[in-house]
């Protein structure tokens, strides 16, 4: 999938579009690549002399990969493919250092109202950089059902 096709599926744009290449995408799973050459601006501060890809950006890249699946599912429907990150539960077993090709995978396990839950993984070769789950919230055309809008019913203090 070309960068133009990726931009058709996702609302993100450089410098906050981290998917360089989409290897495969369907309505259940997506595999994408983020090519990191070390010239990215954030390495100036993270960290000087010891560049490491920030975990939050790996998380965002995985969310964008999941967004490709949502884009596939929403194609031709009334639902907007523009989702928001609703929940993240990831582990980062190893840091990602440039230059590298970060392979990103997202597999949709649940569609629950406006929520899409994914098993996700970022890797370099055989090494897992990040793995876990994330949930995207995708606004429906009609959000009148409080059961499908996260937080709409209010959180009970606990």
């Amino acid at each position: 999938m070309s960068s133009r096709s990726i931009e058709a599926m996702l609302p993100h744009r450089p410098p906050f579009l981290f998917i360089t290449e989409s290897v495969s995408t369907d309505s259940d799973r997506a595999k994408a690549i983020w090519r990191i050459d070390g010239s990215e601006g954030f390495f100036a501060g993270h960290f000087p002399g010891n560049p490491i890809v920030p975990g939050v950006l790996v998380t965002e890249a995985l969310a964008q990969t999941a967004g490709l699946v949502v884009g596939c599912r929403c194609a031709g429907s009334e639902r907007s493919p523009r989702g928001f990150l609703a929940k993240v539960d990831l582990k980062f077993p190893a840091p990602a250092k440039p230059p590298c090709h970060l392979v990103l995978t997202a597999s949709c396990t649940h569609e629950f109202g406006a929520l899409y839950r994914f098993d996700v993984r970022a890797s370099i070769g055989d090494a897992t950089i990040a793995a876990g789950e994330l949930v995207l919230s995708v606004p429906a055309a009609d959000l009148s059902d409080p059961d499908v809008a996260p937080g709409r019913s209010g959180a009970t203090p606990r």
């Binding site: 649940h110 109202g113 929520l115 949930v135 059961d147 809008a149 996260p150 709409r152 019913s153 959180a155």
Partner: protein, 109 residues
């Protein structure tokens, strides 16, 4: 009589949540739902009765909490819940959710 094994942490022993003779009882589902509410969703000490409302005036769970309940049940019983059957009716109260899960598991068995 089946005696439930409760760990010092309050968690129910995994063997207690597995099917007995390939049949999952409603009590087992009820224990699992109670544990999810009290431990996973952090309503510790909450008395979980069948008429406890999950949304709208009871626990006021949001959709992320409800999704966690579904995925937690799936992990505990190794059964994928039929998503299209989930809705306002099946998740309105603890009892309705327990009944729904029990029915799902019974149909599998």
């Amino acid at each position: 009589m089946h005696v439930r094994a409760v760990r010092p942490s309050g968690r129910i022993a995994p063997e207690d949540l597995t099917s007995i003779g390939n049949v999952t009882t409603r009590d087992q589902v009820s224990a699992a739902v109670r544990e999810i509410i009290c431990v996973d969703l952090k309503f510790s000490g909450m008395e979980v009765t069948d008429d406890l409302k999950l949304v709208g005036g009871g626990l006021e769970l949001d959709s992320l909490d409800l999704l966690l309940m579904v995925t937690s049940i799936e992990k505990r019983f190794g059964h994928k819940i039929t998503q299209r059957k989930l809705g306002r009716e099946t998740m309105s109260t603890a009892g309705s959710f327990i009944d729904f899960v029990h029915q799902e598991l019974s149909s599998k068995e």
